[in-house]
Amino acid sequence: MIMSRTLLVVFGMLFCTAAQADVDKHARNLAASCSACHGTGGNSEGGMPVLAGLDKVLFVNQMKDFKSGARPATVMHQHAKGYTDEEYELLADFFSAQKRH
């Protein structure tokens, strides 16, 4: 009984880790498309803002402000409308975890 419970917990943890890994990879894949302008891993070499290490709440707020038009932009209002609130969170998770160069 104890054994099977332990096994269940272990399996549960394995499952969670695998599912988490998929989420992380999906976030990584989403964010990869941003690097043309914002640099690899969000480390822009100039011009466009550095996203690496950006605070999560700030990131999500900026995206919402781009979408609503509260923050004017040349390009980002268009990209912001193309992503969902859920994707803002994933992107925020990814970029906040990147090291600034």
Partner: protein, 425 residues
């Protein structure tokens, strides 16, 4: 580094030497013995170089990557129209492949693929062959010269350029413009879509006009478009032509060029003959020749059908196609090629590890066009996978600049810097 005609001659002489004496190298032997899991990437442009780098990066260097590229250096097609305008030189757009080798351990083979055997999972070069577990083909485009009577590759290289791959022809076209007398005519012919870089020809008209305005103000730019209307950023280009280059740029829709005369620099359309001082004919395009070697171009015999979760060919399992060669409702741009390359790289790693690839690929594209020396306009879009349609569909909110600006001109320069770093460094 200096990018001279001599470098090109040296480079092509090296190519010929390998082709003529394959026995001196490895005959038909295995070029690099395959030990572990291996991906071979054919073509080191925006798509191929990105795929090679990201497979190494995202597999923690577990998967061996061999990149085959025929050119000695990477030359960016994006922003190469500014070489014509005078804002950049070709050297500014030229990068080395060295970092991909040093930093990521990518094995680089300089050469041309001569055949692909999908059954034996083998790629043939003049110098020998390579085995692969998965092959990524990023062949870019090739030109359908047979659609324009009188035009062929030699003519394009020395006289009537297309300059639609950045390099020697870009430099030649700039020299032709410099040699042209004030009061002359530059004519550009645009093929029917789809073609590489939808806004590119109209940007080129702007860049040539910019050069004329500063140096040869009595000259004209004549745009012969085979399409019924301006394909991309229409209002922005029309405004630029009218406001920045009044009476200099003339646009003619439905002007399909079917024939050229090299000696008199004349382009023949259905309606009339157009004589120019500098003639720039962009022929219709199809997937690069490497795609044909494995029969991958299954859409109209021109473009390659793929599964958008993995970019695996619809024709052959184990072969993936990315970039301009893909048949899709996606713009054929450098940024798009890198975005596709990353989706493909991630999926290839998952497949090689027996896992399921990301089921919701969502990618972005931003294309800047320089309309003068320092002002740019853009088009931007997010694209997401639609399972029902098995296609990439444009998401909400995409669009173009409200107006041209110096701010966007500056961003265009930073875009180039950041994307080149992402692809090659």
């Amino acid at each position: 580094m200096s990018f001279s005609r001599r470098d090109f001659l040296k480079a092509s002489a090296a190519g010929i030497a390998i082709g003529a004496f394959p026995g001196l190298a490895f005959a038909s032997g295995e070029l690099i013995k395959k030990k572990g899991q291996r991906v071979v990437v054919v073509g080191g442009g925006f798509g191929g170089a990105t795929a090679a780098k990201y497979i190494r990066k995202w597999s923690n260097n577990k998967i061996e990557v061999v990149l085959i590229e025929r050119n000695p250096m990477f030359i960016s097609c994006p922003m190469s129209n500014t070489v014509l305008g005078g804002g950049r030189t070709i050297d500014d757009l030229t990068m080395s492949y060295e970092e991909l080798k040093k930093k990521y351990g990518i094995k680089l083979i300089k050469g041309e693929v001569t055949a692909i055997d999908p059954e034996k999972q083998t790629v043939m070069l003049a110098s020998g062959h390579l085995k692969y577990d998965r092959l990524i083909v990023s062949p870019g485009v090739d030109f359908m010269y047979d659609k324009v009577e009188g035009l062929n590759e030699s003519v394009a290289n020395i006289s009537i350029t297309h300059a639609w791959k950045a390099g020697a022809q870009t430099v030649l076209l700039r020299k032709q413009l410099e040699a042209m007398p004030d009061g002359g005519v530059f004519a550009i012919s645009i093929p029917k879509g789809p073609y590489r870089c939808p806004p590119g020809p109209y940007e080129r008209a702007c860049q040539v006009a910019h050069y004329f305005k500063e140096n040869k103000p009595k000259s004209k730019v004549l745009v012969l478009d085979a399409n019924p209307d301006i394909v991309s950023k229409k209002g922005l280009f029309m405004a630029a032509w009218k406001e920045l280059y009044p009476d200099m740029v003339e646009y003619r829709p439905n002007a399909l060029v079917t024939k050229v005369d090299v000696v008199s620099k004349t382009a023949k359309t259905e309606f009339d003959d157009v004589k120019a001082d500098v003639l720039n004919v962009i022929p219709p395009m199809k997937a690069g020749a490497v795609a044909d070697m494995a029969g991958l171009a299954n859409v109209d015999g021109r473009w390659c059908g793929v599964d958008f979760l993995t970019y695996e060919s619809k024709v052959h399992k184990g072969i993936h196609v990315i970039g301009d060669a893909v048949s899709a409702a996606l713009p054929k741009s450098g940024h798009m090629a890198t975005s596709q390359a990353k989706v493909c790289a991630a999926a290839v790693i998952e497949l090689m590890q027996g896992k399921q690839p990301d089921q919701n690929p969502t990618i972005a594209n931003t294309c800047y066009s320089m309309v003068s020396g320092n002002e740019a306009v853009h088009v931007a879009n997010v694209y997401r996978f639609n399972a029902e349609k098995q296609a990439m569909i444009s998401a909400e909110g995409g669009g173009v600049s409200a107006k041209r600006s110096e701010l966007e001109g500056a961003f265009a320069g930073y875009w180039l810097k950041n994307i080149l770093n992402d692809v090659l460094l």
